[in-house]
Structure formats: C-alpha cells, structure tokens
Amino acid sequence: MTRSFTMDKPDERRRLDAMAQGVIGKPLSRPDGPLKVSGTATYAAEYDIEGAAHGVLVRAPRFGTLTALGREAAEVMPGVLGVFSSDEFLRNPAQGTADEAPVQGTRDIAYVGQQVALVVAETFEQARDAAYRMELEIEGTGGAVDPEAVEPERQDDETVDQGDLDAAMRAAAHSVDQVYRTAGHAAAAMEPHAAIASWDGGKLTLYGSYQMLNFNKNELADSLGIDVEDVHILSPFVGGGFGSKLGISQEAIAAAVAARGLGRPVSVVMTRQQVFEGIMRRSETRQHVRLACDENGVLTGLGHESLVSNLPDEPFAEPVPQSTHFLYGGENRKISLDVARIHRPAAGSVRAPGEAVGMPVLENAMDELAEAAGIDPVELRKRNLPDCHPEEDIPYSSRKYAECLEEGAKRFGWADRNRTPGGLREGEWLIGHGMAGASRVNQTGEAAARVTLHRDGSATVATNMTDIGTGTYTVLGQIAAEMLGLPFDKVRVELGDSKDPDGPGSGGSWGASSSGSSVFIACEGVREKICEALGCDEGDLTLKDGDAIHGNTRTPLSDLLDADIEVEGKYEPGDTAEAYVQAGYGAYFCEVAVNRFTGETRVRRMLGVYAAGRILNEKTARSQCIGGMTWGIGTALTEELAHDPRDGHIVNHDLAEYHVPVNLDVPALDVVFIKERDDAACPLQSKGIGELGFCGAAGAVVNAIYNATGVRVRSYPATLDKVIAGAA
C-alpha cells in the first residue's frame, strides 16, 4: 500500500516524542561504519565489472570552436579501443534538481578545461597517455573572463527595493557602507567523479557517484535520448558531494556513449585536475552591504547587492542574499543579485549556496556596525530580530536564534574577551575573538520510501535516496526503529539504487527531513496494519523492542505477523513552505591567533551553537557541524580558486595549490544543539543541518582577526598578505 502526506499545516502531534524505543536523536554509530573503516564500502569506480575498459577524458586547452578532434595520434596508440566525442557529451554537469540534460555538445567550447572527448583503452595507463596525444583544433579566441568587466544580468526574483535606503543611510545614527569580495570555491569531494557504464541491449546500468538519483536518472536518460525506464543508476556509497554531484556529469555520458559504441563496459574516472575544471565551482562574489541603524542599534536600512558569475545559458546564480531577506529587520531595503556571463568554468551549487558566502559578509558588516554603534555584537543582533518576515508579512516557524546567541556567549566566555582590537598578545601572536550568526533556509522536497516489516520482526527501508557521508543510513534506520519499536540493528536501510522509490536526493540540507518524513509516513502505515491485526487503536499501541504492546498484552511482532507488511510512504512539501519563514539558526564564537609579523592566522578555539529543530542523531549531526565549521575556516583563511586573468582557467586546479584546510588548521571544535521542535518544517520537527554549520562560520573567524589585529579584511580568504597589508 501507499500512504501519502502533504505538509499543509504544522504537525503538532510530535509523534516521535511519543514513541517508546528511545533511539531517535541518540548518538548511535553509523551502521555503515565498519565497511568504511575496513575499505569494504564500494564506491563508483570500484565495481569489478567483467571486461570493463578504461576511459580518460580529454580537456580543451582553450575556449572557442572545436573544428577537429585530431584523434589519429591517439587512436594508433597501443591498447586504444576508440576515441569518442558526440553531441551527447555535456558541456558541464546538470545543475541540482535540473531533471533534464544540461547544455550538450563539444563544438562550442565555453571554458578552458571543457571535456570534449573520451579516449578508451584496455588499461588506464594506455588511455591516460593516449588522451594526451589528441591534437584538438580550436578556432576563435576572446570572450570575457572578468566578472567585474562585463554588464551583468539582474535576477529579478532576488530583487527587493523597499522604502528609501539612501535616505535611511543619510539619516542613520550609525552606518556601514562597504564592498566585500569572496573567492570562488571548489567542492573538492575526496572521491573524484567516476562512472562505469554497462549496456544490456538498450538498457544502461551506471555505477556512479551522484547525490540525487531521483533527478539523475532523468538527466542521464534525457542526455542520451533514451527512456528513463532503461536507466539504472547505483550509488550506494558516495565519496563526498557538497553539491558537486547533484547533477549528472560528464563522465557518466562519456562512459555510456563509449560503452555503447564499443559494446563493452567502460569505466571513467576524472583526474583531480578535471574535477576542478569540469565540475561546478562556487562563483566568486562582490557584495555591497549597507547597514543603517538608529542610536539604539536598531536597523533602519539594509542593503545587500551582489554580483556573481556563470557561463552563458547556465541557469544558476549563487543566491548570496538568501538569508539576508529575513534574518534582520530594517524597513528600508535594497537587495539584488546580478550575474556576469563570463567564460570561467560553470558555476553551481557548492555546499550551502548563498549563505556560504552571503552570511559571513553580512555578519562582517554587522560586526562593523556593532563597533560603530558601540554595542556588543551579540546584543546588536538580538535587537534586530524582526517579528515577522521584513519583506513579506509571514511569520517565522521556529526561530531560536537569540537562544543560540545567548548560549554561545555564555559557554564561550564572550563577556570576558578583550574588546580593544590588537590589545591582547601572547609572544608573537595577537589573540582575538569574534562571533557571527548562522542562518540557512530550510526546505523539504518530495520523497518516497518503502518500509517493509518482515515476519521475523526485522525491517527494511528502501529508497533511492543517497548517503554522501551525511548519515542517511543511520538516521533513516533510527526513524524506522523508533516508529516500529525495533532495536536499531533490526532495521536495514538500502540506498542508492535508482529503481527504489524516489527519495529527495542529498542536497540543500533537505535529505534527512524529507526522506525521513517519507519513512515516518510509511511507518505510520505499518503501525496501522499492526493495529488492525491487534484490533486496537493507534493511540493504544506501543511498539518496543520488537514487541507490540496494548492493554495488558505484549506480543512479539514475529508472532503477530503471518506476512510481511510493506508500505510506501510519500511525503510532499505543502503550504507550510510558503506560510512560514523556515530556517535553521546558530551562532559561532571563535578565538584566533594572528602572527604579528607574518599575518598567519590560526584558529585556536571555535564553538558553534545550533537550533535546527529535532536532532535525529546527535553524533552524525555534530559531525555535519564540525565539517561545516571547518569549511568556514577554509572559506575564511585558505580557499580560493585562482583564475588566469586572460583565459579564466583555474590555475590552482589541484589539491596542492587549492588549499582545503588540513588537520592542523582545525582545533578541537565544540558543538552545542539547542532543543527545538519545528512543527511547520516536517512531521519529524527537524530542519536541515548539513549546511547550517557552515553558514556564517567564516565571518566569525574574520571578525576575530579584526579583534586580534585591528585589520578589517573585506576580501575572502583572509590570507596573510591581506592581513599584513592592513597592518602596514
């Protein structure tokens, strides 16, 4: 049977709180952990497919028009089986949730690094060498690569022009009017993009590494011009995503085209350099922020006007002001988002698109305003929490931002900090403290899952949802175990098979809530069946430790069932998505040491306090948050895609020169969750946490650098050159 639910009004039943098993929220270890730590979890390129040949992608060294492939030199190399290039090849990956093919074809080369061919050989070594032998002929040059040197396109749906910000700025008791910049980022998931394609007649099996199989199967089918029923994608383990595997990408189509042409399976793994160039980057941004407040620090005006970039015809613009719209008040508002069309590699979602770079900047500006107004930064934020959405007259669902600020300040010892910039020194090191708020919009997506309660009293959850490290295997198991009253190890979770019911996919921090809700709904259906079998009402049923309890009777489920109970649960977002401002909130507090000679910054202490509705598993949620805070450290201090000023190519397209934080960059991180139930978010009362822990984190680090040194760095990352330039 199928059981559906649409989130049209807040679910105040809080069913999970009424259950008896007691596993929900607990910091259980991942059931997939033993596989991961023993090297027996199987990732995309690791399936032992009989007869698979190896393909290596070929990169265009400049942009223009591809007039000839120059394939002959490659084709004659030993072991080479073929060189493939077709109109089906992708210019770049599909954007997240695209559900259809992205721009295709290899004739128009839009950026340096576009992958225009695949060389396939018996061995990887042969294919890799032959790929270098290709003699591509490319005509035409020119095209803008500097986002600030072209006339941009305005994104009308992000534009707000309310009241008179200019007048508010003029009349303000205190104000900030600054331009900030953030660098482009790479998702840099540790597993490079990989696919093994295998055809059986007209049916394609693809072992891949993707986040959203529910969309990816359609993107793959559409790219190849085949029926979605003929596509089968398997991604049970994904070696990190962070947005970079939201959409189907080049290696999948290239592998499928080559496998079809050769009549044998083909495995394609992007090189790390190809991942940097061919996979979505986060756009660099230019952000003009204006804040106006009265003598009490209450905002009267707020401006956040941003410029980002992307390729022509690419339907994504880094939504920089996403949280700015609703986080703080100020009746006079000017918010906009412009896109420069340039020939840098494609831009798309990288963890927490929008808030990842918009929030740190907003929080830097708030720090500057706090200083100008002589108000404590924590207090300034608390004074500016509107009663309802400042641009649209809708209420907040649940907002524990003030609680996060207060709890964080208390735990961190914020009141005891040195307040004079540059006033605290330990030897060579200047010590500073900074804070920032966290905010991330919360959303859910359509999701389905099949829950089977087996006759032996165990259960299976199946959906084509993915676990990209987020803990899906764990939390879906916990939800089912809680709802069905089963020990956690009696629930088996099957993910990453596109043939299973459509999950929401992992992205936008919506996976756990959406997919979890579908499991919850299916479990409600299972419980109804149990009630029928027992002849009792749902309200009288308790399920615990594999037993059904009602009245004075306690019956093992294995005794009760004469057949499996199978229910497919379907969850759909509904009216609460529009009727409430839904977001997760938090606060960061950070201590840095900045070398007074060299400007090197080390984060010594960092605390994140979050409110994201119900926490489904304290351990995996905490891991998401420490991961997010580390991304904040990277954004603040080290991460920057360096584009060549002439052709826009990514010069630092490897992990030696694109600096993701290393272990020594990160101190022991402290995470605290504020208890919350958000009834409007989903039937679990949970909100997304995978991105929240990152949104604004970089701002706390940079605010701490100011407190340490007196230097305001307004261009991310705050590398040492910018610190010493300000100190000079």
Binding site: R59, P61, R128, P645, V651, A656, V662, L720, I724
Partner: protein
C-alpha cells in the same frame, strides 16, 4: 605517462652511464612521477637507483656528516645528529610535504625538485622552463607563489624545497658522480641556478650526473631556526621561508648565515645581508636595515607583491627569535 623502459641500476656508475645516454634517474619519485603523469616529464627510460647503497649517514673526519643521496627526508629529519647539531635542517625537512611523502622523498631527489608554477605544470600553457622559447605565462598571469628576487623575463619560478634552503644556510656540499667515473663536489651555493635565459636548467647537473651524497660541514656555532610561512598550517609550500644560523656573543652578532626559500629560482642567500648584521647589536632597526639589503632589487609581479613585505617581516621575526629579544623589538 608515456611508455618507458624501466631498469634497476646495478651501480652508481651504471646509472650514470645510462643517464648520460638519456635515461632519467628515479629515486623516491614523488615529484618525477607527479610530473610524468601530466606529461611535463616524458622520459623514455627510467633508471631506478633505490637499491643502491646510498642510504647511509656517516660522520666525516672534520666532525660533519655525509648524507647518502637516498637517505629519506624522514630518516634525515629524525637522525640524532641532525636533530641535535643541525636542527635547522631537521625542522626544514619536517616543515616540508607530509609524513607519507617524507618517507619516500630522498635527499638527492629533494634537491632536484622542480617548481610548483601552475603554468609549468600545465602542458597546455606556454612555459620556458618546460618548453624553451614558448614564453613565460606566469609573468602576466596568476603569480602568487612566484619569485621576487633573481627572476628573469624568461622565468619567474621559485624553487619549492625547504631542505635545500637549510642546506644553503649550512654551507652543504653536493657530491656528484659523473658518467665515466669522475666525482665532483658542488657547494650548495652553486648547485641551483637562477633562470636567466635558460630556465629549463634548474641546477648545474649535467646529463649523466648522479648525486651520491650531501655533506655538511661541522656544526656551526650559534642558534639555528627554520621559519616557514605558508597559506595553511601544514602540507603547503612556502610563500617565504628563512633558514637562520646566528651566533650572538657579548650582545653582538658574531656570525650569521641566512638563506631564504620562496623568493627565487634557487635557495636565496645574500652575504651582504649577513655582513650588515655581523658585529652589530641586535635591534629592530638593524633587522630593517638587513631587510633593505636583502630586498634592494626585489620586484613583484602583481599577485606576489606581498612577498616583499612578508620577507622583511619573516626575517625580522626570525632574527628577533634567534637573538632572544622577546618583546624588545
């Protein structure tokens, strides 16, 4: 990686002979294989010298050390004599790369490391070092990690080694066996070249030369420091590094040896900087004067302009530390 013939060397002289005939010598391989995968290096023949008996560290008659070319960076850094008598070298090694890489990387191979310039690493881009005459794309490109001293219009690459910087400060010497059996000793000062109009030549090594050892003179007097400034806390190449050996006696600098990484195509040492310090009492003003000497001819290319003030600051920090000046400066 292009196809190649792989052979294992039977002796140093055999390796030298093969190298003279065009073979490329592989030791740790951590840089060579990296470059071969990208076809920046395309040897037709590889001679593996890893099993030659060049992995010993021996005392020399004058109280110094002779370090076999195949001693790994890890073993060298952990050697008791290096730790106690040449800490600048131990620290430079430990500041480099990662534990895994140091376990493979060798003393001789480290000296032969090639630049990390992004244009050198990308065969689609012009680069005079990789393809003489094709031009330098870094000069007007993204050049954050590039040279501010001793560069030429043909190349602004930097040498990435930490180890070599410490060896330069320690007045090490490189022992080489040539094809045909001749041996020669090259002071560190002359081993790495500046680019001039032949940036393809990183060192004075000629085809057929095999590095067999590096010798260190007896330990210098005074304190030793290695300061590495980089973009993340670990596992990153130096933006600027300073290897310093300074002896302060009776309140005055009696001797100083200062070598710098990240500034030039070779570990950079300018004796005039040391002359400016010797005989003087340590002071912030003196260190500033020394930096003036060091940076007199420095030139930035845009993204790397910051290295000029950074080198000044790194020098001051190192000297304040090594002269135990605490908060006085």
């Amino acid at each position: 990686m292009r196809p190649f013939d792989y052979t294992r060397a039977e002796s140093v002289s055999a390796a030298a002979g093969q190298a003279a005939d065009g073979a490329t010598i592989i030791a740790g391989g951590t840089n060579l294989l990296d470059l071969m995968k990208l076809q920046v290096e395309t040897p037709g023949q590889l001679v593996d010298i890893n099993r030659l008996p060049l992995a010993e560290i021996e005392e020399t008659d004058d109280g110094g050390l002779r370090i076999g070319a195949l001693v790994t960076n890890s073993d060298l850094a952990a050697h008791p004599r290096i730790r106690s008598d040449y800490p600048v070298l131990s620290r430079a090694l430990l500041a480099g790369a990662s534990g895994q890489l140091r376990n493979k990387a060798t003393t001789g191979g480290n000296l032969c490391q090639r630049t990390r310039c992004g244009y050198f690493y990308d065969t689609a881009m012009p680069c005079n070092k990789r393809e003489p005459g094709s031009g330098c794309y870094a000069i007007d490109g993204f050049n954050r990690i590039h040279a501010i001293l001793g560069a030429s219009e043909h190349c602004i690459a930097t040498h990435p080694s930490d180890m070599a910087v410490a060896m330069r400060a320690l007045d090490a010497e490189v022992e080489i066996e040539r094809a045909g059996g001749d041996t020669l000793t090259v002071p560190a000062k002359y081993f790495h070249r500046l680019p001039h109009d032949t940036p393809q030549q990183d060192t004075v090594l000629e085809p057929g030369d095999v590095i067999t050892a590096v010798t260190l003179p007896r330990p210098p007097s005074g304190e030793q420091r290695y300061r590495k400034v980089r973009d993340r806390a670990s596992y990153a190449f130096a933006l600027v590094s300073v290897a310093a050996v300074v002896d302060v006696r009776d309140g005055k600098i009696a001797s100083a040896a200062l070598a710098f990484g990240g500034l030039a195509h070779a570990p950079w040492r300018d004796e005039r900087v040391e002359e400016a310090l010797v005989g003087e009492a340590p002071s912030a003003a003196l260190f500033d004067k020394a930096a003036d000497v060091l940076l007199k001819d420095a030139r930035g290319y845009g993204h790397n302009d910051f290295k000029i003030p950074l080198a000044r600051r790194a020098l001051a920090a190192t000297l304040i530390d090594i002269c135990s000046m605490g908060d006085e400066a």
